[in-house]
């Protein structure tokens, strides 16, 4: 398949006994968070990713497109990937609480994602994010043990239509 290796598929660990019980207990836990989308959110997101497409910022331009209004960049729901918890609720290194799982490792590295884009998002939309930790598994690599944390998040608009779904894999070692 071309010049590069395939992304690591979510190969389950053979033995879940490898994963501490406190971490295992977090699997299946779900959080539901609701966000209102503003023009400012979309504009700042577009600036942060360095995408100058006027469809994300210019209402006059957007009106002439098939969308008829400003829409958000395809992976905009990343803006809602991490919960707005106060700083004191985070670990000292600021690791997002979503991946702050009691494992015998501390360092976060790389990761992978499978992101499905659904209905377009526009200012004024209410987005409900349903976030679930779906798997934790371990692999032994060249540099030692790697722990994989998989979080599945479904984002829906006010009409209940899916606007995005991301299965994100975070790696710790």
């Amino acid at each position: 398949m071309g010049v590069f290796r395939q992304p690591p598929r979510t190969e389950r660990s053979v033995d879940m006994g490898d994963i501490p019980a406190e971490a295992r207990a977090m699997i299946g836990k779900e959080r539901v968070l609701v966000y209102e989308v503003t023009k400012k959110d979309i504009r700042r997101f577009a600036q942060a990713i360095g995408d100058k497409n006027p469809l994300y910022v210019d209402e006059e331009y957007a009106k002439k497109t098939k969308y008829k209004k400003i829409i958000a960049p395809p992976l905009f729901c990343h803006a809602f990937a991490f919960e707005d918890v106060p700083a004191e609720d985070l670990r000292e290194d600021g690791l997002p609480i979503e991946v702050d799982v009691p494992l015998p490792v501390k360092r976060a590295i790389g990761g992978a994602s499978s992101f499905e884009v659904g209905e377009p998002i526009s200012p004024g939309d209410t987005i409900t994010a349903t976030k679930k930790l779906v798997d934790i598994y371990k692999k032994t690599g060249k540099t030692g043990e790697l722990y994989f944390i998989v979080i599945d998040t479904v984002y829906r608009n006010g009409k209940g239509a899916m606007v995005a779904r991301e299965k994100a894999t975070y790696i710790q070692r």
């Binding site: 010049v3 590069f4 997101f45 995408d51 707005d84 790389g110 992978a112 884009v117 377009p120």
Partner: protein, 142 residues
């Protein structure tokens, strides 16, 4: 306009997607941390990142994905939309790196769900080292 071939007809398996060059900066990483409310030090504290064995602060996994999505979106334009982006971080990127998003068409599909184009996508740096790789899909409008 109708005389011209549509996007789906113009594109063939093996076609390369126009490359998109990006130069992540400290400011950009800060802005992306802020807009995603990702407060992990690894993205804005060089000392912390080096302590973790990195050259410098890390470009976010999600930001790399957004770069790939932008490449696909610039390519398909108003003829369709980005419908799927899958990627794995391989080498990672730091501020000051010049990185290039690239892609190649691997499959054209036309079925009851509509017309879609599947691609291999990846990001490499100036010496060709792989930063991220995966698959993308664009869905064509009717």
């Amino acid at each position: 306009m109708k005389d011209e071939k549509g996007f789906f007809e113009r594109i063939h398996e093996g076609d390369e997607i126009p490359a998109l060059t990006k130069k992540p900066t400290y400011m950009q990483l800060f802005m992306f941390s802020a807009i995603t409310w990702n407060r992990h030090l690894i993205h804005y504290n060089t000392e912390f990142a080096r302590g973790d064995g990195l050259r410098d602060v890390a470009t976010h996994r999600a930001l790399l994905g957004n770069f790939l999505a932008q490449m696909l979106s610039d390519w398909v334009g108003e003829d369709g939309k980005v419908s799927k982006v899958e990627w794995s971080v391989r080498g990672g990127a730091a501020p000051g790196d010049v990185i290039m998003c690239r892609g190649k068409v691997v499959q054209k599909v036309e079925d009851e769900k509509g017309r879609r184009i599947g691609c291999d996508i990846w990001i490499e740096n100036e010496d060709g080292t792989l930063i991220a790789s995966g698959k993308g899909e664009v869905a064509l409008s009717d």
